[in-house]
């Protein structure tokens, strides 16, 4: 099987350019071919060279480039809301682009000003897939959008003043500032502290001491604010947080240092404390960074609205943005387009794929006066729709709202580290109180105060606080290389406690595509039967037609005969004349001149990897259940084939029912792909979306598998369990170090110098233990699936 030149997809039926006589450049679809030609005609063929040489290579999906005018982009209302007016007679707009994947895309898009008049500057942010385009005031953004669309990157204009994004940017900058300042201060303090330890004396030691205090102040007062904030919130909400003992140590350390300076003792713990702040901030920053990879929830809203709609206005159709649709408008939806709002068909009849809403994979025949819903896809004919509900009042809008609230309501767990902090704080307080009292009884008030303060500072649980973020960062980043994208760090800990697995049927256990199950020929036809099929079904996009086309191609049919009087009967079949014979394919039967010559059945097949994966899940001690919107009749044989007992099948489940079942099972994981799963996904203890999921499910889920099927699921469970083992080991290690510090503080052996050794060593031990991992964890992270 050959690969498409443009998108590197496996090709079922290759198509070629007219001038490409030798068939050297195969394409999977006309979309890819068009984009390839556009790129070449512009002299941008270097794109393919860069793509081939690019190490950062992800597969892109086949180009889906419908020609669009994008004229709505030039309307004044739209410009006011979506574009920035610059002072230099220019304007700027941001576009989210679908299909950005590698260096070659960057090259292609940033070359825009060279092949498009009026465009001045184009900058692409690869992480967000957002292109910022600046144009002359008299140029049109619609031309930019058309160009990007022709190149195969579907553009979605982004609203101006996206305050959420700005806010996030500001937060991130602040975090970076804190890390940078803490690092610089820690480094400088270390230099002067070492001079004091090395034996600087007299005035010099005093000077050095003052310098360390000066450097430490911004760290304690500014950089440490996240710890103080978390600790304060935890106290206010009466929950636990490891940040409470950390803040305590930082504040005590500050007081101790300043107090010593006042009484003329050149001793403080600022070298250890600032380094600790730096390390902690850094590890937390990495952890959040890794979780931000992939899609962010806020960027996804506009997907369900689609892009352009054709609105009828005085017998003409004009392009507008779905945002401006109103109830009562009449719109035209062409074939293979998404319906942008709920409404009623007032002209035409068509097949509708509503798998997004119901999970039902078979298209539904829909005609005049019947209701259609936004988010469903019009498969065959052009229809006119009168709109009844828009945006958040539409059915999908309501589901989205539920998902959002589910996202907030989702049970947050107090992670292991924070649970420990309760005992930790109690132990440290009791110990320092005991220490203070025993020394106080002996009449050494000052020593008592000093030692108990020191105890509070040196037991600062730095290794303890580092243990979890470090381990999770490693697991998350390795997992994302395997194709498991984890969007939430609590998930790992939750996953380790999972007892039940819910699997969706269509697209998760099965391929989600119809395939020919059996094919029986009754009598030979005049023209080879498979050639008849591929010729007749050539134009149809019906899933049955696709299955038949694939099947006949596998059986060696590559000759296409011209078909006369071709007709597709909505949801019933196709017929047409080939040569002197009349052929008909309908209801699983094929007729030649009204004589039945063959019959076939179609089935959605269980994925090859589903059965072993389900078996593995069972050996891990999990209950595997199937939950499906399809009828029991369809679901049961498939489930049994995949290895799920018939008692564990939940069939004929509406999205609402799915939700109810999930909520009944605590410690369960939900794996699904469609919007019918989205509500269940959003409420499940842990949710996993599989490849091919609709954006709505991606948004609702904690984990996204970028490889098809559930083969990664057992790995995911093992990885989480093993990761938790490493976390526990790290916690034990850091507690051992803390006990040593406590002992040293009790006996009075501890000094800032001893602390300066113990603290880094304990952090390094935790780091080493994290990198070492466990044998099982490393194996699973390395190979993933073979």
């Amino acid at each position: 099987m050959s690969l498409c030149i443009h998108c590197d997809e496996n090709i079922l039926i290759p198509i070629f350019n007219d001038h490409d006589m030798d068939h050297k450049e195969p394409f999977c679809c006309s979309g890819c071919m068009t984009v390839f030609n556009v790129i070449n005609n512009k002299g941008l063929e270097k794109y393919y060279e860069i793509k081939r040489n690019s190490a950062i290579f992800k597969r892109r999906s086949p180009a889906d480039n419908k020609f669009q005018q994008f004229s709505f982009l030039d309307g004044q209302d739209f410009l006011n809301e979506y574009s920035y007016q610059n002072q230099t007679e220019t304007k700027t707009m941001e576009f989210y682009l679908e299909g950005i994947h590698c260096l070659a895309c960057l090259w292609l898009i940033e070359k825009l000003p060279e092949y498009l008049d009026g465009a001045l500057l184009c900058r692409l942010d690869m992480q967000r897939s957002v292109a910022t385009v600046t144009m002359k005031n008299n140029a049109f953004f619609s031309s930019v959008a058309r160009e990007l669309n022709n190149l195969g990157y579907k553009p979605h204009p982004l609203k101006r003043n996206q305050s959420i994004h700005d806010l996030k940017n500001k937060e991130e900058r602040k975090m970076l500032l804190k890390i940078g300042i803490a690092g610089a201060a820690a480094g400088n303090i270390m230099m002067y502290a070492i001079s004091i330890y090395a034996g600087a004396d007299g005035k010099l030691a005093h000077l050095f001491n003052i310098i360390t205090i000066l450097f430490a102040m911004p760290v304690l007062l500014y950089c440490s604010s996240p710890f103080y904030k978390n600790a304060w919130n935890a106290i206010k909400n009466r929950t636990l947080s490891i940040d409470i003992p950390i803040s305590m140590a930082l504040i005590m350390g500050g007081i101790f240092g300043v107090y010593n300076e006042i009484i003329g003792v050149n001793e403080n713990f600022f070298d250890s404390l600032t380094a600790l702040v730096f390390l902690l901030l850094l590890s937390r920053y990495f952890l959040t960074k890794i979780q931000e990879e992939g899609l962010t929830a806020n960027d996804l809203n506009f997907f369900y609205e689609g892009n352009t709609v054709l609105k009828k206005e005085q017998n003409k159709f004009i392009e507008i943005h779905p945002q401006f649709l109103k109830v009562g408008d009449v719109i035209k939806v062409s074939s293979n387009e998404m319906i942008p709002a709920d409404g009623v068909i007032i002209e035409g009849h068509t097949l509708i794929n509503s798998s997004l809403l119901t999970g039902e994979s078979r298209p539904i025949n829909t005609g005049l006066n019947e209701k259609v819903f936004s988010g469903t896809i019009n498969l065959s004919n052009e229809i006119l729709i009168q709109i009844e509900e828009v945006k958040e009042n539409s059915r999908i809008g309501k589901i989205l709202k539920k998902i959002e609230s589910g996202w907030i309501q989702k049970s947050h767990i107090v992670d292991l580290t924070n649970k420990i902090s309760k005992y930790f704080v109690a132990a440290v307080f009791i110990l320092s109180a005991v220490l203070f009292l025993t020394l106080y009884m002996q009449g050494k008030t000052r020593t008592a105060l000093e030692r108990s303060l020191t105890l509070l500072i040196v037991t600062c649980p730095c290794a303890l606080a580092l243990a979890t973020p470090l381990t999770l960062t490693r697991t998350l980043s390795r997992a994302s290389k395997l194709g498991i994208i984890i969007k939430n760090n609590e998930v790992i800990e939750k996953l380790a406690t999972i007892k039940t697995v819910f699997l969706d049927k269509t697209g998760t256990i099965t391929y989600g595509v119809l395939k020919v199950d059996s094919f029986n020929t009754i009598s030979n036809s005049q023209i080879p039967i498979f050639e008849v099929i591929s010729s007749l079904e050539k134009l149809s996009v019906h899933p049955v037609a696709l299955a038949l086309k694939e099947y006949s191609l596998q059986n060696g049919a590559n000759i296409f005969h011209p078909v006369n009087n071709y007709q597709e009967l909505m949801g019933k079949g196709v017929y047409g004349q080939i040569g002197s014979h009349f052929y008909e394919i309908k209801n699983g039967e094929i007729f030649e001149d009204n004589k039945r010559i063959a019959y076939f059945t179609l089935e959605d097949h269980v994925r090859k990897d589903s059965k072993p994966a389900i078996a593995q899940l069972k050996t891990l001690g999990l209950d595997v259940l199937m939950i499906s919107g399809d009828s029991k009749l369809v679901a049961e044989p498939l489930a049994i084939e995949a290895g799920i007992e018939s008692a564990n099948i939940f069939a004929e489940m509406s999205p609402e029912n799915k939700l109810a079942v999930i909520e009944k099972h605590s410690h369960s994981i939900m794996v699904g792909d469609g919007a019918n799963d989205a509500m269940a996904l959003s409420r499940a203890f842990v949710s996993v979306a599989v490849l091919g999921s609709l954006d709505i499910s991606l948004r609702a889920s904690d984990i996204f598998l970028t490889t098809p099927g559930i083969s990664h699921l057992p790995h995911l469970i093992t990885i989480s369990r093993e990761t938790m083992k490493v976390v526990r080991r790290n916690l034990v290690l850091s507690l051992i170090y803390n006990s040593i510090s406590v002992y040293a503080a009790f006996t009075g052996m501890i000094s800032p110098m001893v602390a300066a050794i113990i603290m880094p060593v304990s952090s390094l031990t935790v780091l080493a233990s994290t990198i070492a991992g466990t044998k099982k964890l490393n194996e699973n992270l390395k190979q993933g699936i073979n």
């Binding site: 001038h19 070449n40 005609n41 512009k42 002299g43 941008l44 270097k46 860069i50 950062i56 260096l103 960057l106 090259w107 940033e110 070359k111 060279e114 092949y115 900058r123 692409l124 942010d125 690869m126 992480q127 940017n169 991130e172 900058r173 970076l176 500032l177 940078g180 300042i181 610089a184 400088n188 230099m191 010099l204 000077l207 310098i211």
Partner: protein, 59 residues
């Protein structure tokens, strides 16, 4: 040892200037996108040949 009275303020000044530079760069947004610029530098600045438009069509 008198030289230390100059060296220490100098060292501190140097440290502070680096911190100031870092703050300035962060606020200017130099660290907002850490991925794209690393790739962008791999692309050459050569202008593309737009005139090939007509040749290709004839093929």
């Amino acid at each position: 040892m008198e030289v230390i009275t100059i060296l220490i303020p100098l060292a501190i000044l140097l440290a502070l200037s680096f911190i100031a530079g870092f703050i300035w760069m962060t606020m200017k947004g130099q660290y907002d996108d850490l991925e794209t610029p690393a790739m962008r530098m791999l692309i050459d600045d050569k202008k593309i040949n737009i005139n090939s438009d007509s040749n290709k069509e004839k093929k």
